[in-house]
Symmetry: C2
Subunit: 252 residues, 2 copies
C-alpha cells in the first residue's frame, strides 16, 4: 500500500502543478467550451496522470472524466477527476479539488483529495489513518441530527424538498463545497455530506478518506460504495447519524 500511496501523492503533485496557472486566469476572454481554461486544465492533467500511471503500473485500469475507460489487466483501477468542482474553479473559488482513487476489484482502497491553491491534501487508505497535510485527522462525535452540520453542493441536484427537510432538521447546512466538504468532514468540521447524481470519478476517492478518519460512507440505501454505485452519496462523521439520515434520504 505504501507504494500506491507514494504514486498517488506523485500524481496529485503533478496535477497541482498543471492546474495552478489556469486558476483565475483568462476569465475575461470568452472562449468556446472546449478551449476554456477549466477544460484545458482538466485535459492536460488527465493526459499527464495517465502517462505516469502507464509508466509505473501498465496493467492497471484507468477511469477518467475526460478520456474514458482503459480496461484493467489485473484487479486494480485508478479513477481520476482532475478538477472536481468545475463551477467553483470557473468562479475563482479555491474549493475545487483533484480526486485520485485506486480501486481493487471495484472497491475503493485509496483516495486523495488535493486542493492545489490552498495546499491542502487529504489521503486515505484502507487500514490506515486518514491524513490532512500528513497529520492524522478524525471525524467529530455527533449523535443527533439537530446538532449536526451538513453540507451539499447544489440544491438543484439534491432536489429542493430534500434540501429544505435536511436544513430544517439540522443545526446548520452549507452549500457549494464539492469534494472539499468531504475533507472538512474528515477533519471533524462537518458531520454529514449529502450528494446526488454523482459519477464514479466524483466519489471513488472519498470512502477511504472518510472511513480512515473514523466516519462512514454509503449510498442512499446504506450500501458500501463501489465503482458501480448509483452516485447518490451519504458520508457521516459519526455512524450514529447514519440511520436518521438514510430515513430522510429515502423519503425524498
Amino acid at each position: 500500500m505504501q507504494d500506491f500511496i507514494e504514486l498517488a501523492n506523485h500524481l496529485a503533485d503533478e496535477a497541482g502543478g498543471i492546474i495552478s496557472p489556469y486558476f483565475r486566469s483568462s476569465f475575461d476572454i470568452e472562449t468556446k467550451d472546449d478551449t476554456s481554461p477549466v477544460t484545458m486544465a482538466d485535459k492536460a492533467v488527465e493526459k499527464r496522470l495517465r502517462e505516469i500511471i502507464a509508466q509505473h503500473r501498465p496493467d492497471d485500469g484507468i477511469i477518467g472524466e475526460e478520456y474514458g475507460i482503459q480496461e484493467s489487466k489485473n484487479q486494480y483501477d485508478w479513477v481520476l477527476d482532475p478538477i472536481d468542482g468545475t463551477k467553483s474553479f470557473i468562479a475563482g473559488r479555491p474549493f475545487f479539488g483533484t480526486l485520485i482513487a485506486l480501486c481493487e476489484n471495484g472497491v475503493p482502497i485509496l483516495g486523495v483529495i488535493d486542493q492545489p491553491i490552498l495546499k491542502e491534501r487529504w489521503v486515505g487508505a484502507t487500514g490506515l489513518p486518514t491524513t490532512y497535510n500528513e497529520t492524522p485527522v478524525q471525524t467529530r462525535t455527533c449523535t443527533t441530527l439537530s446538532s449536526a452540520r451538513l453540507a451539499s453542493t447544489d440544491p438543484h441536484y439534491l432536489k429542493y424538498n430534500l434540501s429544505e427537510n435536511l436544513r430544517s432538521a439540522s443545526d446548520i447546512m452549507i452549500w457549494g463545497g464539492d469534494c472539499y466538504s468531504f475533507g472538512l468532514l474528515a477533519n471533524g468540521n462537518l458531520d454529514a455530506v449529502i450528494e446526488a447524481q454523482t459519477q464514479t470519478y466524483d466519489y471513488a476517492a472519498l470512502p477511504p478518506i472518510i472511513e480512515g478518519a473514523g466516519g462512514h460512507m454509503c449510498d442512499w440505501n446504506g450500501n458500501p460504495l463501489t465503482i458501480e454505485s448509483d452516485g447518490n452519496l451519504l458520508a457521516v462523521g459519526d455512524i450514529a447519524l447514519k440511520d436518521t439520515m438514510l430515513e430522510i434520504l429515502l423519503k425524498a
Copy 2:
C-alpha cells in the same frame, strides 16, 4: 478619504489577528451558543474595532452585529460585521469575511471585505478604483444572462423557486459564498450575486467595492442601497444584466 481608508485597513488588520486563532479550533468541544468559537471571535473583534473607532473618530456612529447601534454625532456611521458567513466559519471553510463600511448620511462610501485566512482583501471607496490586495480590479463584460455566472449563499433565503429560475436561465450558478462572492464579482470571476433578507451590516461594505470595480449594486427594486434598505441585494458586474435580473427577481 485616504485617512478613512487607512483607518479601515487598520480595523481589518486588527480583526484578522483576532479571528485567525479561532478558525478550525475547538470544534470537538460542544459549547453553548454564547461561548462557541465563532461567537467569541465575533464579540472580541467588534469590541476591539469599536475601541479603535472611538479613539480615532469619537463622533462617528457605529452599527455592529453584536453590540448594536451607537448614534452618530456627525454625518458618518461605521458599519461592522466581524464574521460575515458564520456557517462557513463554523464548518472550517475560509470563505467568511470581516466587513467594514463607512456611510455618509446613510450612504455607503467606503467598504472592506477581508478574508484573514487566505489573506485576501478588497477595498472600495467612492471615486476610487477598487483594489484586491492593493491591485486595482475590474468586473467582467457579460451582456446576457445565459452566459452569466451567478452566486447566492443559501437557496432557503433566496427561495427555491427563484433559485431554480436563476439557475436554469444562467450559465452556471454557485452556492455558499457570502461576502466572498462579491469579491469574486469585483475581480471579474462572477457576473451577478443575489442575496435575500440580509441586514445592514451584511451589505453596507459592498456597494463601494462593486461600483469601484465597474459594477452596479441595488435592491430588488433597482434602488441604490442605503443604511435603511430592505436587505434584498443584487450586484452585477455589467450594468447590461441589471434589467434582466430585476425582472426575474420581481417575479419571485
